[in-house]
Amino acid sequence: MAWYDLFLQMIVDGLVLGAFYALVALGYTMVFGVIKLLNFAHGDLYMTGAFVGFGALSLVSGVFGAGWPGIFIAMLLSMLAVGCLGVVIERVAYHPMLTAPRLSILITALAVSLVLQNAALTLTGGQYTAFRTDLGFGGFSLGNLFLSWNQIVLVTTAAVLMIALELFVSKTLYGRAMRAVAIDKDMCRMLGINVSAVIAITFFIGSGLAAAAGTMAGAYYGSIWYFMGFLIGLKAFTAAVIGGIGSITGAMLGGLILGLLESFGTHIPFIGSEWKDVFTFTILILVLVLKPTGLLGKSEVERM
């Protein structure tokens, strides 16, 4: 294989990985935007989304099969269910803490993360669950580059979800209200905007996107377990920081960049792929030191 074939293959792998990171990073950044919370439970919503998607697929596969049509239906059901779970979590756990010091709500988020993880641990006994699908291994070759249908469907789906989100945020009144709430809540109230409702919508969408990523990741990689949200949560956080936390376009960009960097990182000579997480978090530290506002973030003087 020529060097450029390897290069192209790394780009394809990076895009797939980046699509997952971007979808999860969006929820992180949106929630940070509206309530300035680093929602450390967000990765666990991805995990919950994978399990709900798994359950939904076993329900609908009789009718729609366990190929992409069935997986899409399962994904939509999972997005709906986990979106609602996100809203409930905000109402029950975060809403009462909004006026408390910022550290309190951060600790609450860690607690929510533990609750979700341990609930999944109890229900599954900590075992890996096989996410069985009828997905094939087909695809096509461009020269020496191999693209699987699964990769194409996955990246396309992620792109469609992100374009839909971008349109919602820039073109609709509620999308604009979401951006406005991120800027000045009291002013929004004075304009008649129900800030609590906008926050709820934000949690619904953010959690739904995490569930979409979770279901697709489960189907793509073939197994799920209770701890799968932990690492991707941290990586999505990294992606959001790279893009500029609070910026929606930044999260998409950050996710893709991180996916690509990680894909390249696994091929650095003399460094094995087991170092890729070190690589990722080195990037996080570098961004935080060199450009804390990220690529598209606005500088903001704020104290915890």
Partner: protein
């Protein structure tokens, strides 16, 4: 002159000044343990410009925030057209037609001029009506039309004030609460803003205006209240207070 208002009446009460739109009665407000308002009562009648004067920290902005629901009252009542709005959330009060243009304009930075205006009409579900209002606001403030696609934070202070007022007009307010619209503006712009306030009022908007620039406000208003240490000390026809230089001087420390 105080109108008789009871909590259960739904008919707009009247006073010698006309039909009372907004009435606050014996209102207290606290920031933590610090009392900011002490039994404040005032009325704003239909079609009036009422001004609330006072020095820094006297309770002017707090009075407006209490009306718009950003600061909760512990005592007293606030009524809009005879109905209590005291227990409503801020966004519900805005939906009833009370629009607050706060101190410092509070432009939504990062959103375009047009997006700011459209958020002003967030509660207006009728798209055609939103379009008409937008055209009206652009007619009133042509500069906003010119710069509609720009980030609102790039506007000058005077233009931001126009945007804040335009945004409030998009809402179709029945009462507009204006907090220090002249603050930080060059004298020429202040005149321009005051001219626009008068024009809005003539077009039917009822206005409660908070100003530090008392002479200016008294020229514009029909009726005035003077607040000091969180309590109303003086009230009367603006024209009368304007003539009564000694009174104004005593309460506002104006040197002429």
């Amino acid at each position: 002159m105080t109108p008789t208002t009871t909590a259960d009446t739904t008919v707009a009460p009247t006073s010698s000044r006309g039909e009372v739109r907004l009435s606050i009665t014996d209102v207290d407000a606290f920031y933590g343990r610090i009392q900011a308002l002490r039994g404040v009562s005032l009325d704003v009648c239909r079609g009036e410009i009422v001004t609330l004067l006072g020095s820094n920290g006297a309770g002017k902005s707090t009075t407006l925030k209490t009306i718009s629901g950003l600061v909760r009252t512990s005592r007293g009542d606030i009524q809009l057209e005879g109905q209590s709005i005291k227990r409503l959330a801020a966004h519900q009060i805005a939906r009833r037609g009370v629009v607050h243009v706060p101190e410092g304009r509070r432009i939504l930075r990062g959103l375009s001029v047009r997006e700011n205006l459209e958020l002003g009409a967030f509660t207006v579900r009728d798209g055609a009506l939103r379009g008409r209002r937008l055209a009206e606001v652009y007619a009133l403030f042509p500069i906003l039309h010119e710069r509609r696609h720009q980030d609102a934070s790039l506007l000058s202070g005077g233009q931001q004030q126009m945007l804040a007022m335009g945004r409030a007009l998009m809402h179709g307010p029945s009462v507009m609460l204006l907090d220090e619209p002249s603050m930080g503006l060059a004298p020429k712009l202040v005149t321009e803003i005051m001219r626009i306030i008068r024009r809005l009022n003539e077009a039917g908007t009822t206005i409660l205006l908070v100003e530090q620039n008392a002479r200016l406000a008294l020229r514009l208003a029909h009726y005035a209240y003077v607040i000091e240490n969180g309590a109303i000390r003086l009230q009367g026809e603006a024209a009368r207070l304007r003539e009564d230089a000694s009174v104004v001087k005593a309460y506002l420390g104006l040197a002429e």
